[in-house]
Amino acid sequence: MINTVPIDYYIWLSIILFSIGVLGVLYRRNAIIVFMCIELMLNAVNLLMVAFSSYLNDGAGQVFVFFIMAVAAAEVAVGLAILILMYRNAKTIDIDVLNRLKW
Amino acid sequence: MTVFLIFFPLLASLLLFLLKPVQAKVIAFIVSLIELIVSLMIAFQFNEGQLIPQYGIDIPWISTLGLNFAVGMDGISLLLVLLTTLLVPLIILSSFSHQYSKPSTFYGLILMMQMALIGVFSAQDGLLFYLFWEVALIPIYFICLIWGGEDRARITLKFFIYTLAGSLFMLVGLVYLYLHTSGQHTFAMQALYEAGRALPAHEQGLVFWALFVAFAIKMPIFPFHTWQPDTYTVAPVQGTMLLSGIMLKMGIYGVIRWLIPVVPEGVAEWGFTAVTISVIGIIYGSCIAIVQKDFKRLIAYSSIAHVGLISAGTLTLSTTGVQGAMIQMLSHGIIVFGLFFIVDIVSQRTNTRMLSSLGGIRNAAPTLATVFMIIMLGSVALPLTSGFIGEFLLINSIFQYQHILGAVAGLTIILGAVYMLRTFQKSMSGELNAVTTGFADLTTHEKWVLYPVVLLVIIIGIYPAPLLDLSEPAVANLLKIYSNMSASIK
């Protein structure tokens, strides 16, 4: 039933989502938003994986997506912990405020 | 035997570092004496006729790099090893009047230096040669850095990086040869020789420059000498002696052993340029020496002039020239050591090295004056001193190579006289002045250092034949390739 949708569409879609994620990372200074955008990027990859796996008719792709999800979860856990730590120390989550380390 | 010569001082130096004995200087002196005795034993039972290296070993070290621990000595190596083992004890003895902080480190470094130098002179493997070459740089760097004089940090670092840069080019050259060795790549000397000779002419030219620049910086000859006067001036006098007496010879040795036989066509193509540069260096060095005010610096420049002559003579590719270089290396090593020691004595007693403020020392210290006179005569190449033998042979070879260059190079005996006599007059002659009154004559241990020097200067001058014979066959052997070349051209 999906055979009407060519694979290229999915590729394009996921690329666009991915790029939006990148755009967000570049565009926003709020660490949480940036972080969310990274999650968006990962989801774009997931979508692509699934698309490929079903077009290649191979389960491995979808299994891989599980791992990505696991990793994403782990990253979120750690990431948010770091965010809170940062907020605790710097009283801000603006990514451009933190530049004591330079040169 | 060679292995012993190399590792015994290393061992001793490590012990000095670890145990920090009180009598470091004495221990070091004894060690160096043992070295001297061993090397003399070798020299006496040496078979100069036999062309393959003697008293050596050859064991694989890093086969993946084609690096073998191959050491051994032919006549050329032996002469320079002798120079090293002879000078090091004298240098150590000459330091007895100094009170250096951390003496064990100081003497340990000197011994380590000796290890490296003997290694350089006896290495039969390209990469091994390079290793020792660099290793020699480290102790002398620290000697200068820790016990040196004004502004030493900058100067010594410049010295280090500059010479390192040069030798890295040498490394590239060697690797280039290594990659052209036939079959299983190796750094074995003969293999490198064959590889180099097999190269097409223009590549030989490139390799020539890669190697020559390294050697030129080490010697140093004009215009690669900029590190030298500062370093000689700033280094503690023992360091200066090591630098000028022995280390300078590494460059010449490199040319003789690792340049001339390796890339004959490259040398044939660029030799003339190199000789010309060296000859310019002679005049340049002498002229600057004439106007120097600092005693030590003056001798530094004079050494540039002398080494220029040596390298020019070496690059004429005639047995005469190379033999002259050999004997002159020996003689220059001894003489320059003596001169620097005299500088040290003078500056220790008067706290100045400015010629203008010295004078009349001859009244107070006739012995010193006489010794200085003899050594000075040696350095201006008066016949019956060791200096003459070398300079005669060198000028001879250069003159045969190219009359004009020969004549210009000959000017060294005039200019040399000009600045040395000036130095002697300004420091020794005249009336005593405020600085030099109460100048004490040589102490016993100073005599023990200087009398051997004087004796050697004269003895070598009167009867150099044994020394010349020692290296003649080896030199002839190294230069055979050229006679073959010219034969093939004819």
Binding site: I2, N3, T4, V5, I7, D8, Y10, L13, I15, I16, L17, S19, I20, V22, L23, G24, L26, Y27, R28, R29, N30, I32, I33, M36, C37, L40, N43, N46, L47, V50, A51, S53, S54, Y55, L56, N57, D58, G59, A60, Q62, V63, V65, F66, F67, M69, A70, V71, A72, A73, A74, V76, A77, V78, L80, A81, I82, L83, I84, I93, D96 | -
Partner: protein, 167 residues
């Protein structure tokens, strides 16, 4: 009909994704992101990855985004506390992203050369098949993931809890 579904889902997904980036209030961003995730889940269903779709909704919409919301509440971020990049930077950012899209799409031609254009059986997305793959071929990664989660857990706790020792 699937094609239309695809178009619709994609449209919503992209739109809400953009809103994630551009909406001023972090809370809105979170909500938009959740919408996007739902759309992606829809795509999974279109692609016969039903099980994955479910897991996706549970993990992301259910767990991760809630976590985000918590944090935002915790730090009580809202519109006015929101830092802004300078206009110039925004333009540059947009241009960069645009370039990225172009380049990617440009370099992603040639799908016709793919081994297999059409899915044969539509059952791979079912739990049974996935389970097979996961617990035969991908057993080790699955186990290793536990190490990963363990590490993350330890780390999060370590950073999260304030040390009585220090203060």
């Amino acid at each position: 009909m699937t094609l239309n579904a695809f178009y619709f889902l994609s449209f919503v997904a992209v739109l809400s994704a953009l809103m994630v980036v551009f909406s001023k209030n972090p809370v809105y961003s979170v909500l938009y992101l959740i919408i996007t995730f739902f759309c992606i889940a829809g795509h999974y269903i279109l692609l016969n990855a039903q099980f994955l779709a479910v897991v996706h909704v549970i993990v992301y919409a259910g767990a991760i985004m809630v976590l985000f919301l918590y944090v935002i509440m915790l730090l009580n971020l809202n519109e006015d506390s929101e830092p802004h990049k300078s206009a110039l930077l925004r333009v540059v950012a947009t241009i960069c992203a645009g370039l990225l899209v172009i380049v990617l799409i440009g370099s992603l031609k040639g799908t016709e050369q793919m081994i297999q254009q059409q899915p044969a059986d539509t059952g791979i997305g079912l739990v049974k098949n996935l389970g097979k793959v996961m617990f035969t071929d991908f057993l080790l990664p699955f186990e290793i993931t536990s190490v990963l989660l363990l590490a993350a857990m330890v780390g999060a706790i370590m950073l999260g809890k304030s040390d009585a020792v220090k203060r």
